[in-house]
């Protein structure tokens, strides 16, 4: 195996991780500030992708499509927060799980009703398509590099938002002490709607970015949702820093395990069987990682006990 291939795989892992971060950031914020487990977060990912695909089909502009994904997911998030989610903050996790599970059913079949059963089309814009040459003769798709860059920018933006702005102060206050932010004279319900819509918008944005290289279809959000949960649990629920680290860890583990394990088994078995056994273990790898982290740090890497 060549070093070039390994570097390329590390880039792939990073890109996957950055993507997961966009999903996980919203999820962890919503949990940190409102104490809500939101299974329907994957639906916003799907809504973003569908909004982007529909907009791209109508206007032909990828940037407009991205903007549409942000707006559509944020609006959907705000509406859901104001009509349903708001009533769940004081409930136990069990009620939240059921209610947001119900939302998944509604969103998924609702989307199918609107857009039909077949996948939609969304493509990479012309100016980002094709590979770019990196040092050491690595050919790497520009679009994936762009995703890494955009994702890291969003991460920086989020950290700045939370560390520097008034809203950020309120969010941090909300994480540590819910009564306190009321005492600060903050309109809690507005803050909550904002945080929820922000999380939804990030998920929708991720959906649109990924929709261009994967398929835009009903149910696309759930596998990502599960991974995002793995991420925030590894990172420590409520911690943006943890979400970033967790996302990169999961991204790298998944990519490298999928690549290295079959190769490793190839040393001791015949190729076909090695490919099969190796990839079986690889598909379990991130769950093993998560269980391992929790066994040694029961509240995740950056979680508060």
């Amino acid at each position: 195996m060549s070093a070039v291939l390994l570097i390329e795989q590390i880039l792939n892992g990073l890109q996957f991780g950055v993507m997961l971060f966009l999903m996980a950031a919203g999820l962890t914020l919503i949990f940190g500030v409102m104490g809500l487990i939101n299974l329907a977060h994957g639906s916003f990912y799907m809504i973003g992708a569908f909004a982007a695909a529909a907009t791209a089909a109508a206007t032909g502009s990828f940037l407009l499509a991205l903007a549409a994904s942000l707006v559509a997911a944020a609006v959907a998030g705000a509406i859901v927060e104001m009509t349903v989610i708001r009533r769940l903050y004081k409930r136990d996790h069990l009620d939240q799980v059921l209610a947001t599970f119900a939302l998944i059913l509604i969103f998924s079949e609702g989307t199918r009703w609107l857009f039909g059963s077949f996948p939609l089309f969304l493509e990479i814009p012309e100016y980002l398509s094709g590979p770019i040459s990196l040092p050491f003769g690595i050919q790497y798709p520009q679009y994936r590099l762009a995703i890494i860059a955009v994702g890291l920018l969003v991460a920086v933006g989020l950290f700045a938002l939370i560390a520097r702005t008034r809203i950020g102060i309120q969010i941090r206050a909300g994480e540590s002490d819910r009564e306190m932010i009321a005492a600060l004279g903050v309109d809690i319900s507005k803050l909550y709607t904002f945080v929820f819509a922000l999380g939804a918008a990030l998920a929708g944005f991720a959906g649109a970015l990924i929709g261009a290289i994967q398929s835009v279809q009903v149910g696309m959000g759930e596998p990502v949702l599960i991974l995002a949960f793995v991420v925030i649990v590894i990172g420590g629920i409520g911690s943006i820093k943890g979400a970033l680290l967790g996302a990169l860890l999961v991204g790298l583990t998944d990519t490298l395990a999928g690549f290295l394990l079959p190769a490793a088994f190839g040393l001791i078995m015949e190729p076909s069987a090695a490919a099969s056994v190796g990839s079986s273990l690889a598909s379990m790898s991130i769950y093993v990682l998560m269980a391992g982290v929790l066994l040694f740090r029961p509240t995740g890497l950056f979680g508060r006990s």
């Binding site: 949990f31 069990l94 799980v97 119900a102 998924s108 099969s276 079986s280 269980a291």
Partner: protein, 327 residues
């Protein structure tokens, strides 16, 4: 008599009456549906034992459901092909006998529950929800790619396993077996809930600090509860496999865990009959709504949402009111 006791009796009678009526009017599929409801109810009673009584929200109970299912699948497939399950160090043959399969399912799933529980109970709250989910997913992906027993295709068992003295292929007789097991499980769970162990477990759910101060170890109580819970859910998995004469990794999926949890919340968390009511209503909704539209999931979602938002404490609370303290 308490209102809830009357309701519980009505639910059991109803569950019994529907298939008997179906038998009369020759609608065997209704019997199959009722059997499915009964089996899901057992799975729910299992989860409710750790969730309702012990407050352990496990989103990985599909693991035990699947293990129970595969216990049946593996044993029966070996019996079907006349190959031993294990040749060394001792010979274990497959079997077609339901009681043996149940025993095996209960043993294996409680063993897994013991291990998964011991590891997961180092965490609590949301982390517990997620780590159980992780273990469930691990097994799910393992089963999909484990080629020996069919992988994602699953395993087909051509003939339903046998029970001494009964014809299990007759829908109503198989229903009878499942129904009797449900009653047995309910009886055992209600006894355990009122026993010293149940009292201590409920105490631990409400106040861990108190339990430690009186010298009881919450963690041990939880682990025992989780193991029993896994065993019951495992039993239901074996029955479900026999209902379908088929097992597949979908039994391990996280949606399955979610569904089992839905039965409980729908009926009423911590209530003995919560999962029974929940499973029956869920199957009924699936049946009725499925006829309405291709997009019936939307309606199902809306109804579930309505229950969470407006019928706190589930359907049983809606009917009989808030639970009263009793000894």
């Amino acid at each position: 008599m308490r209102k809830e006791t009357i309701l519980n009796a009505c639910v059991l009678l109803g569950l019994l009456a529907v298939p008997l009526w179906a038998l009369r009017v020759d609608e065997p599929f209704i019997i199959t549906l009722a059997t499915k409801a009964v089996i899901f109810a057992i799975a729910g009673v299992g989860l409710n034992f750790s969730l309702g009584l012990g407050g352990l929200v496990s989103l990985g109970h599909a693991a035990f459901f699947g293990i129970g299912g595969y216990s049946m699948g593996i044993l029966a497939s070996h019996a079907q092909s006349y190959t031993p399950l294990m040749g060394w160090p001792l010979v274990i043959d497959g079997t077609n006998s339901m009681p043996l399969i149940w025993l095996f399912a209960v043993l294996i799933s409680s063993l897994f529950a013991l291990v998964i529980g011991a590891l997961s109970l180092r965490t609590s709250g949301v982390y517990f929800i997620m780590i159980t989910l992780a273990f469930g997913q691990m097994l799910f992906f393992f089963m999909i790619s484990w080629p020996a027993y069919g992988g994602e295709d699953g395993l087909v068992i051509y003939v339903r396993n046998g029970f001494p003295g009964l014809n299990t292929l007759d829908p109503i007789q198989f229903f009878g077996i499942c129904f009797a097991l449900l009653c047995g499980v309910l009886l055992a769970v209600s006894r355990i809930a009122r026993s010293s162990f149940g009292l201590a477990l409920g105490g631990a759910r409400q106040n861990e600090e108190r339990m430690q101060a009186v010298g009881l170890v919450p963690c041990k109580l939880y682990l025992i509860a989780f193991t029993i819970s896994g065993a019951i859910t495992g039993l239901s998995g074996a029955l479900f496999a026999d209902l379908n004469r088929f097992v597949s990794p979908t039994m391990f999926s996280w949606q399955m865990s979610g569904e089992i949890m839905i039965f409980i919340i729908l009926g009423g968390t911590g209530r003995l009959f919560g999962p029974v009511v929940g499973a029956a209503v869920f199957i009924l909704l699936e049946y009725l709504l499925g006829g309405l539209s291709e997009f019936w999931h939307v309606y199902l979602g809306a109804i579930l949402l309505g229950v969470v938002l407006f019928a706190r404490g589930g359907l049983i609370e809606l009917i009989v009111g808030r639970e009263v303290a009793h000894d």
